[in-house]
């Protein structure tokens, strides 16, 4: 593996945003293909971050700084990526449901999905059903991802799924949910397609749903 790619991998793994940007610049200077930088540097690094999180070697702060380093590197790389380089894994509309302002989990899922090659439309927090519906229509999304931290806001997920039904969009999108009070059986109860306990597993669930 090229040294610049190795540096980029390492920068993302340790969460060094400055080094990640410099490594991308260095890789571009020696004319490495942007798609190679993306796939072998960034996506590979974020996959390793996910593995380390699942193994219990990384915790939320480590995952956050890695994801932020990845995003910084990506901001340098993006202008150099051709349309053909961006083989999107799928487009995901993501948000924390209405009445809930908590977003660390949602942001982690969003960044890990981005790091796995998905396109993200992040609606933020306190997102009512009609904004999810609007974003799905507007962006031609493949997946709706919803988060809730509170037991009291979790039922909003069902409201969004019912709204997708009413808007005749339910067959066009997969729905994944997560958040502290959310469980696999709750996902089944409300007719979601997938549930993930953490950001790393959310990537795996999303990939399996779209394959």
């Amino acid at each position: 593996m090229n040294q610049e790619i190795k540096d980029l991998l390492e920068a993302i793994l340790v969460g060094n945003a400055d080094l990640a940007k410099e490594s991308v610049q260095a890789a571009l200077r020696i004319s490495l293909a942007p798609s190679e930088i993306l796939n072998e540097g960034m996506i590979a690094a974020m996959a390793e971050v996910g593995e380390r999180f699942e193994r219990g070697d990384y915790f939320v702060p480590e995952m956050l700084i890695s994801a932020r380093a990845m995003q910084q590197g990506l901001s340098i790389l993006k202008p150099h990526l051709q349309q053909s380089d961006l083989v999107s894994q799928g487009k995901i509309v993501i948000g924390t449901v209405k009445g809930d302002l908590h977003d660390i989990g949602k942001n982690l899922v969003s960044m890990m999905l981005e790091g796995a090659g998905f396109e993200i439309v992040d609606l933020g927090t306190d997102v009512p059903a009609d904004r999810f519906i609007g974003a799905v229509t507007e962006n031609g999304a493949d997946v709706v991802a919803m988060s809730a931290l509170l037991t009291t806001t979790m039922p909003q997920m069902k409201t969004v799924i019912m709204a997708l039904d009413e808007a005749e969009l339910r067959d066009r999108v997969k729905v994944i949910i997560g958040g502290a009070p959310v469980t696999e059986s709750y996902a089944q109860d409300i007719g979601a397609d997938g549930y993930a306990a953490d950001a790393s597993r959310a990537v795996k669930v999303t990939k399996s749903l779209l394959n």
């Binding site: 702060p61 700084i65 977003d103």
Partner: protein
């Protein structure tokens, strides 16, 4: 059931604009359909990049902004009740000062900011606790020492971070509480099994809330491992059981808790968090009735 009497000083400091507090946090009521939650929406230290900026620009609250003279009156007529007061949970405030995500990131990228701010916040908690104890010597039974360490699956922070940033200050508070003859009520949500040995060693007396559905929080195992050293408090799940379960499921959970956590004593029944408004009233009653029925040994 005797309620715990909570004592606290009266605020007499500078007047505060509406929906703000002594730390400059801004709050907003967020409507979730059947009620409102007050959430922090302004994070006063979020704008700063360095410790120096914080030192130069931020004014910390002063313990003299509170009047402690009324505390002895607060326990009059309640002499037979357990009294709770003082304690610390500085990272809870820190998260609101910096913004929650940045607070997590700071542990890895800005340890100097975390240590400085936690020390300021903790010093305020410590002085508050000392002053409460001085007002009613020997009359406080419980002081709260908390910090949420767990997610549903695992610790949110590495054990190394917990040992560096949190436990040493907790230990100072624990020693103060014990010196005053009170018990330490330790609170941490979530899957915290991996750090419980550290907390027990630090001297906690009660562990709350025992979210047994979380990874590693097996009630029998906890009782076997720590039951001779600590009291368990809480353990009635309100992410599923109280909120969405049946009356039978609630009753069964109470019975299981009493059998598993309470074998030979050492368990105080309660919900794992404030009872959520979507919980059916019959479930709430079932929890307490089952406690009354099966909780006597």
């Amino acid at each position: 059931m005797d309620p715990v009497l909570f004592v606290e000083p009266e605020y007499i400091g500078p007047s505060l604009p509406k929906n703000t507090d002594v730390f400059g946090r801004g709050f907003s009521e967020v409507d979730y359909g059947t009620g409102v939650y007050k959430e922090c929406v302004h994070f006063p230290l979020a704008q700063y990049q360095t410790l120096n900026e914080i030192k130069q620009n931020y004014k910390w609250p002063n313990p003299d902004w509170w009047d402690y003279s009324g505390i002895s009156d607060q326990i009059k007529g309640f002499e037979d009740y357990p009294v709770k007061g003082g304690g610390s949970e500085p990272f809870l405030v820190y998260k609101d000062l910096r913004g929650h995500e940045q607070a997590f990131v700071d542990l890895a990228t800005h340890p100097e900011i975390v240590h400085f701010c936690l020390e300021k916040l903790f010093a305020l908690c410590y002085e508050n606790t000392v002053r409460i104890y001085e007002q009613i010597p020997g009359n406080v039974q419980l002081s709260f020492v908390g910090e949420d360490f767990g997610s549903q699956q695992m610790l949110m922070y590495s054990p190394n971070h917990i040992r560096e940033f949190f436990i040493p200050r907790m230990k100072r508070m624990i020693d103060l509480v014990h010196k005053a003859g009170a018990f330490v009520f330790f609170h941490s949500d979530g899957a915290i099994r991996d750090i419980i040995p550290d907390m027990v060693e630090a001297g906690v007396d009660v562990i709350d809330p025992i979210q047994w559905r979380c990874e590693g929080m097996d009630r029998s195992e906890l009782k076997d491992s720590f039951g001779d050293k600590v009291i368990f408090h809480g353990a009635v799940d309100n992410q599923y059981t109280l909120a969405f379960g049946t009356v039978d499921e609630v009753r069964q959970e109470v019975v299981d808790n009493i059998n598993l956590l309470g074998m030979g004593g050492g368990y105080i029944i309660g919900p794992c968090h404030n009872i959520q408004p979507i919980s059916p009233p019959e479930n709430i009653i079932a929890m307490y009735m089952a406690g009354l029925e099966y909780g006597w040994t």
